[in-house]
Amino acid sequence: MLEQQLVNGVVLGATYALFAVGFTLMFGVMGVINLTYGVYFALGAFAALWTTQGLGLGIAAALPVGALVAGLVAVAIDSLLLTRLRRAKAPELASLMVTLGATLFLYAGMAAWLGTEIRRFPAAIFDGGAYSLGSVRVGTTQLLIIGAAFLFVAALLALVRGSRLGLAIRAVAENPEAAALMGINGGLMVRVVSFLSGAIGGAAGVLVGLNFNAIQPFMGEHMMLRGFAVIIVGGLGDLRGALVAGLLLGFAEVLTAAYISSTFKDLTAFALLVATLWFRPMGLFGRAAAKRA
């Protein structure tokens, strides 16, 4: 029982982390809370669905297509909505409002275009079998989600900390004007980060859609609330923080449901959020925003 619940916690936590990594990256570099992030989650899943159903390809092709489509849409939306605001040095509240409006628009548009019925990937494309180890069972898609969460965080950290591109991204995050004076193309960096964030959101949508076998336009809406909790607990813009906080939240929810009462599942998650804001408003690792990304 406990072993299975721990596995459940890791899987759920990895799901949250996977979702939140792109969200927090977007915040860390660009300093905006982009609420359209939840939309890329569903967009990636739908693009992958189309790849498997329309083109008859397997999941190995669908996953990159989902990530690519979501990433490109993220770049388009960012340059359409936020570039102007950035140029005008609008306050953070303005970008929050603009992305909130855009989110409602995009959800309504997707619902009208794609319908609100739940879709599922064709059963044949992926053998979602489960492995048993003693009394513990874990599915192939669940292993994929855990793997992807760790892989994305590791890859992003390597990129941001260990490459010239990462150096440029960090420079833009720290001080866009100074970065521009050093000859760094700030606009390009913003597009690169938008693409990466959107692509991660899209890939997360594909994997989560595959795991729960349910894809619909509003699937990111519910995740956004958890995503918020994760990036705040982990520290805004902190990639490792997102991973740790995601896992923490997953464990907290699963263990509450298992050993206290499922009624308190949501309560625990948000108690964690409130406690973080109370005791460690900078997030678990408490570093200044500009140093994180």
């Binding site: 619940q5 459940n8 979602g128 076998n213 349910a214 519910h222 929810e253 599942k265």
Partner: protein, 378 residues
Amino acid sequence: MRSLMKGMTAAAMLLGAVAGAGAQDKSPVKLGAIEILTGPNSRYGVAIQRGFDLALAEINRNGGVLGGRPLALAYEDSAGAKEQALNAARKLIGRDKVPLILGPTLSNEMFAAGPVANERKVPIVGTSTTANGITAIGPYVFRTSLPEADVIPVTLRTAKEKFGVKRVAVMYGNDDAFTKSAYDVMKAGLEKLGIETLTTETFGSKDTDFSAQLTKIKGLNPDAIVLSALVEAASGIALQARQLGIDPKVFIIGGNGLNSPKLGEIAGAAADGTIVGSPWFVGKKDPANQAFVAAFREKYSGDSPDQFAAQAYDTLFIVAKAIDAAGAPDSEKIKDALIKVKHSGVMGPFSFSESRDPADTSGVVVLTMKGGKFQLLE
């Protein structure tokens, strides 16, 4: 003096009646309908709209109501939000002056819109609102959908008699009036039948992960899982239960929310064995039902009707009969006529009880899922 007054009133009424007949009023009788036409739950509202539209076409083809006036429907979208349902009711009553409102789709929404209609003395007829306490809102609130309090006990009794279910785990969505009220009925029904409840687990209606609750249930080894959920959550639960290795023999006993072909489409074989009670079934053999199913498929390019469409379809005929009996598109008269209507539709014999709920439960059928499709439990 008094008799003179009486005579004059009678004469005036007679005159009015003659004038009415003479003028041959052919203007449409417009009713309001509040349904979920957009958003995540629009599947229910759109099914209902299709049921209404099919019935509307048939009624108008046969001469409409009140001796030749066509019936018309003004749809308002509630999007599944009770605030929006409330505003829609206000708009239909205040601006469109409709004599009767159909809907809204969800019990949640009825608890918001119902009191407004009741206060303004406009009858409101729910076709899909099955929660407890709907018609207790007031004398102008009706429903044609069998409350779950009538359907669920039949399902539970069948599970006990046919499969010898003795120990169950209960799961329900605790943030939705519909799933919570079905849970209350289940709890009472289980106690009455002497079935032991090993644990009661809850979840949010938008949750996608149920592994913690199901792992706990697996450890308790129940005969069945009694589940009150909407179809999205129910599909997720069925899939994850099998993924966690809960024996396929541990079947799910569902409330009305599980009674949807979507369950089989999403969950596939994982949902096999699930049983639900239903006021209606697409495969019911009687000629009225078969004609309805055929007409529906023809109108909607092969799509099959569901329970929501069937309930809506019957309801419009019931309402049309009440308008005819009332003799005028007048809210008060329609209200008084509705309670007396007798109708035999695709759901079976129908009449209202004194509390404005359906009086007859003889149409209830128990269904079981096999190969992703519901069929009558033999």
